[in-house]
């Protein structure tokens, strides 16, 4: 266990060093949040129809999205990709640590470190100037943190799984490119899932992606009560288990294949 923690910490430190990039990133996200906010507010001002989410909730949702952007499974670990592509993963198999767990920890740190750095200034700016609201109660806040943890674990499992598909398709670029779009679409990043047409709601409920964005955000807003959040957290855990098992399975089969083929 100590080994895994050490890896996570080391990765953390490396990522914290990219300060200039972080500032550029924050500026970009401020801009993006502003555009989306203006667009949504313009929509709200154009109609008196009742909407699935109030205006103020919408604004908070948007800024939460910008703050938590780094947690999403978008950047696939370039080192791992290269390893799989060049076949030098064979060296990794010699190490004593369980490879899947190793990669999982790396992926986890890759999500958490930059997000921590970027989200805090974004939270501050958004709350001071752009109308972002804090959670309605301490219980909601705690539930939000819990489901955000669940989301991060889920994201990491998803990302690791997708990266591992590279074992099977050498020019896995195509697959890797499709995955972010799927996440962006079905997680609620593009549009809060409540705004999707009513007919689509059953499908959205079945997919694991809502657990990545929509669920924790709605817990934050109080739309999902803290007690309901526990149920959602269980669903997240279920999906995490599924994705982790699938990932480990792919790795095991791929390793066997590699060993048999001789790399």
């Amino acid at each position: 266990m100590r080994g895994y923690l050490a890896i996570t910490a080391a990765r953390f430190r490396v990522l914290l060093q990219y300060r200039a990039a972080a500032i550029a990133g924050i500026a970009t996200q401020l801009f993006w949040g502003l555009i989306r906010m203006m667009i949504f507010l313009a929509f709200y001002a154009s109609s008196t129809r009742p909407q699935p989410m109030s205006r103020t909730d919408m604004v908070t949702y948007i800024w939460l999205g910008q703050a938590m952007l780094g947690l999403l499974p978008w950047n696939f670990d370039a080192d791992v990709r290269n390893m799989l592509r060049t076949g030098s993963v064979a060296y990794e198999l010699v190490r004593p640590l369980d490879l899947y767990t190793h990669w999982y920890c790396r992926g986890f740190a890759q999500r958490v470190a930059p997000t921590l750095m970027r989200s805090i200034p974004l939270f501050i700016v958004a709350m001071l100037w752009f109308g972002m609201r804090p959670p309605p109660s301490a219980a909601s806040g705690a539930a939000w943190l819990l489901t955000t943890l669940g989301a991060t674990l889920l994201n990491t499992a998803f990302m690791t799984l997708v990266t591992l598909t590279m074992f099977w398709t050498l020019s896995g670029e195509g697959m890797l490119r499709l995955a972010p779009f799927v996440v962006y679409l079905f997680s609620g990043m593009l549009l809060p899932l409540a705004f999707w047409p009513d007919g689509a709601q059953p499908l959205l409920r079945l997919l694991p992606f809502r657990g990545m964005v929509d669920v924790p955000f709605r817990v934050y807003l109080g739309q999902i009560s803290p007690t309901q959040a526990l149920g959602e957290f269980t669903v997240q855990l279920l999906w995490i288990t599924v994705l982790v098992l699938a990932g480990r399975g792919l790795l095991a089969r791929g390793t066997r294949r590699l060993v048999i083929q001789g790399g």
Binding site: A21, A24, I39, F43, Y44, R49, R177, L178, Y184, F195
Partner: protein, 264 residues
Amino acid sequence: MRDAWKLYRHYIGISMRAQMQYRASFIMTVIGFFLTTITEFFGIWALFARFGNLKGWSLPQVAIFYGVTHLAFAFTEMFGRGFDTFPNLVKTGDFDRLLLRPRSTILQVIGTEISLMRIGRILHALPILLWGVHATGAIWTPAKALLLVGAIVGGGTLFLGLFILQATMSFWTIEALEIANILTHGGTETGQYPLDIYRPWFRKFFTFVVPLACANILPLNVILNRPNAMPLVGSLAPLCGCLFLGLALAAWQQGVRHYHSTGS
């Protein structure tokens, strides 16, 4: 001029062969770009379904704005990629080699990377534009069609100018230049909608500092016969994009001059 075109075609041919080598991967990537970009419009469609209208604009009208902006950006994305990777050229000293060839540096930088797979964006924006054109029921005259094309071209030159300006910065500094991406990608995001839905200060920025309005609200107001259209200004507006490109090229020449006196 003619052999510049010949060289350009040669660059494209080479890029095509290189990128088409892995046929399956290429197609998947094009599909990937198509899907990632079309989700944006899905979002707009879903919002219109919920809200009904956007500050007096209908969905087909917004589709035209959307199509124009994305087509403009797509062409630049395909051919302006060389400017994205330009800072690396300066860092490695490979820019020297471009100076050692008897051709324009701009042409050569464009030739370093032509990204054909971004045709996925064109493939998704064109149908949306055409649908919008059809569904608004606007009366189309040759003049309006020309203005529409002009808006796309104007937008394209504007975005190209932004790419070039971003690359020009690397003559002076190698630090985080990604901030300029805010203007190119952010500009595309902004241009999807009519500029007048945004706050005044934002609108002014994208009219007077980065003249996105010249490929957005100004000509399209004229085309769609909107009440506050300014026919003369709107029809000439796309030229602003070309002017902006001219400014960017001038800045580039300054950058090259600076490079000449300081080396790499």
